[in-house]
Symmetry: C2
Subunit: 425 residues, 2 copies
């Protein structure tokens, strides 16, 4: 498609075209600096480069085509929204823009200034009319995973077709009953939206599709245990980010092809960094496109990132839905159980996360862990204290950083990362 | 009892005696400045002055005596913990210290610095061994009403006999099922703690006791609609604070006596402030003893506070438990329903609160509303934006303030309050 055709599409979506041009220019420059400057990238990353270059173009065109065929678009901000149900009504699920500083002043009329950058961003993108995903949505599904989002959705609801799922705060039997009721309510809402009834056959297929994507990403993550590290953390973060936007089947095939190449590279004992480069794991808040600031700082300081313990990372891919269920109700129970295994900081207690972080750091042979929190994210800030203690007891060095989407603290973060890397020598 | 006997009691409770002496001295001075300096106080306030003067003395002695008789002490930080159940097992329920800056540095090793003052305070009081209530407790009951408390309790649990209730985040049918399960689980926990089985008879009596206290406080609040205002906001805040500590029946009788005196005063058209003094309502976060900073600033600026829309205020007293229930299960359902009517900012949506604030401001003939939020309290900071819009639409002036427990911002708050009062003229 031509740029003119894209502009027409964006105009139809009521984007602020001039501001959107500016955003794409910054994104392109940023991507060039952070991604295209890398040496020794795998051939398979060309697919990701292409997808990202067309993130507001071809992928939006696909959504528009889907809509023209009568399919619905469902937008989300959280790994608790079960994509299996969305796919089972033949709708498309996409993550929405939340990773860049956009429309902040307008957002601060709806939410307090002391709100995390991710929340301000999704509201800002909407108010500034800069996200073609948000504008394409027939339904946007929020959840009650933190005070910030829970209350922000109330304000957001005046501006978007919002639906909120109540995620429980414990994993008790009673909490599971609530969560199952919420899964059923969401299913009914999707059936109502699309006029499509969810059958066992459709749901089984959707479960297989999403599990296949998770398996491909699990495979990718396992391969990163190799020394030297065969792929950069930046590239894997991008892959995780794209997993929220791209067509699931196409994406899964591309990642499996990439993994084949990774296996070749590992066999040849080749890497993207020297074998003795410090191996770091990231842990904490999600990094939405184009929030690549910290990974870039880390990897341009000579370290390599070998894991992302994050919603845009292993929290979204670690657990599969049990595929042995036969009836629709059994499948729904399998969904309920799978999503309740998520080790989100919204749960109390959340001991599993500590266990998972330590296991992951060991499996990936991480020399240290950088805990990343968005400023004003209370759940992850609280858990950072516990994670630090746990890693300390396991003799795994760690450091906790708080930041937002501004570039003002880049030098400060760089200094802290370099000081941390010094301690690992 | 003598001071020596008290010291012995505090020592038994393992308080840090020297630091506790310091705390009591500051509290006494603060109380003298803020409370005893008032003109024209009602005779009935002597009871409150006495209770407050003995807050770490006689009342703690009573708790010790209750314990000696085999009764259990249950501590809480939240109006969601159903005192009816606690009383039905013949236990004593008390609010715990959370209103002063104590043990902050120690608290900041367990929770992030960007945590609200109330949370840091209850942790600090425990770590610094300064709260005889906390030290008396056989059980401390937390709840999941905000991210800050939910996650702080995880750290607090290593230091206290903690039990956490899951409060749902919506008022859906499924959320009500969860809440009922939590009420039943708490009931079983209390029965286990005390060895006392809750019967319909005991619960009916407890419901009457707590309702009677609510009715007395409702009566008090209604009388404040009189012009001139017959009682200061400081005094009513104190009354609300003491309602969490004192013996319920004795407290209720004292408040009803005070209300008799208030009625006399109103008949005589007497007040604590001139009839044309600006009448303000406070709205937002709770003010625990001895957090009297903002009310003192407001009332020493010439205004009078006529209502507290707060957990330590009308949020705790507005709704009664239906007394028509006959069976134990009906009574439990009545409890479930009453507590789910609370208009806490933890719920989404929480439209009732906006309605209640506007109604309350009109009923009390408030000239304006001051929204009070503790710094880093996200739920009330989010709602403050909505409350401001709602009051604006109703032509009721309002101002939002954020503060903590330090005295550093007193002058700044005073300036803002005075500027707000100017706009009301």
């Amino acid at each position: 498609m031509t740029q003119d055709a894209y502009r027409e599409m964006w105009e139809t979506l009521n984007l602020d075209l001039a501001a959107h041009d500016g955003l794409l220019a910054v994104l392109g420059k940023f991507y060039g600096d952070i991604y295209m400057s890398q040496q020794g990238r795998l051939k398979g990353m060309e697919y990701l480069d292409f997808v990202l270059s067309e993130v507001h173009g071809l992928r939006i065109k696909e959504l528009m085509d889907a809509k023209a065929q009568g399919r619905k678009i469902v937008g989300t901000f959280c790994v608790f929204v079960p994509e299996e149900l969305t796919l089972a009504v033949d709708a498309v699920q996409v993550g929405l823009c939340a990773g860049a500083d956009a429309g902040r002043e307008a957002a601060e009329t709806l939410v307090p200034r002391n709100t995390c950058a991710l929340i301000k961003s999704f509201i800002g993108f909407k108010l500034a009319r800069l996200c073609p995903y948000t504008e394409s949505c027939d339904l946007i599904v929020g959840e009650t995973t933190c005070d910030g989002k829970k209350k922000a959705y109330e304000a957001f609801a005046a501006h978007a077709p919002l639906y909120v799922m109540e995620v429980p705060q414990t994993k008790s039997d009673a909490a599971r009953v609530l969560w199952k009721a919420e899964i059923l309510r969401y299913m009914a809402r999707l059936e109502d939206l699309t006029g499509t009834k969810i059958t066992a056959e459709k749901l089984a297929e959707a479960i297989k599709t999403v599990n296949a994507r998770r398996r491909a990403l699990q495979r990718l993550n396992r391969l990163r245990a190799a020394v030297p590290a065969p792929i950069s953390g930046r590239d894997v973060l991008l892959i995780n980010q794209v997993s929220f936007y791209d067509d699931p089947a196409r994406f899964t095939a591309s990642i499996n092809t990439l993994c084949d190449q990774l296996e070749e590279r590992i066999k040849a004992e080749e890497g993207v960094a020297p074998a003795d480069a410090p191996r770091l794991m990231l842990s904490g808040c999600p990094m939405a496109v184009p929030n690549w600031k910290l990974p870039y700082i880390i990897e341009s300081s000579g370290a390599v990132i070998v894991g992302e313990e994050s919603c845009i990372g292993t929290r979204n891919t670690r657990d599969l839905v049990d595929e042995s269920a036969q009836t629709l109700d059994e499948m729904l129970d399998a969904l309920v159980d799978r999503y309740l295994r998520i080790d989100c900081a919204c749960f109390t207690p959340n001991q599993e996360r500590l266990d998972n972080i330590e296991t992951m750091a060991r499996d990936l042979k991480a020399d240290g862990v950088i805990q990343y929190a968005l400023m004003f994210c209370q759940p992850y800030a609280h858990e950072a204290i516990k994670v630090e203690k746990r890693l300390g007891a396991a003799d795994i060095p760690s450091m906790a950083l708080e930041t937002d989407y501004s570039m003002e603290d880049v030098e400060q973060l760089k200094t802290r990362v370099e000081a941390f890397l010094e301690t690992l020598k």
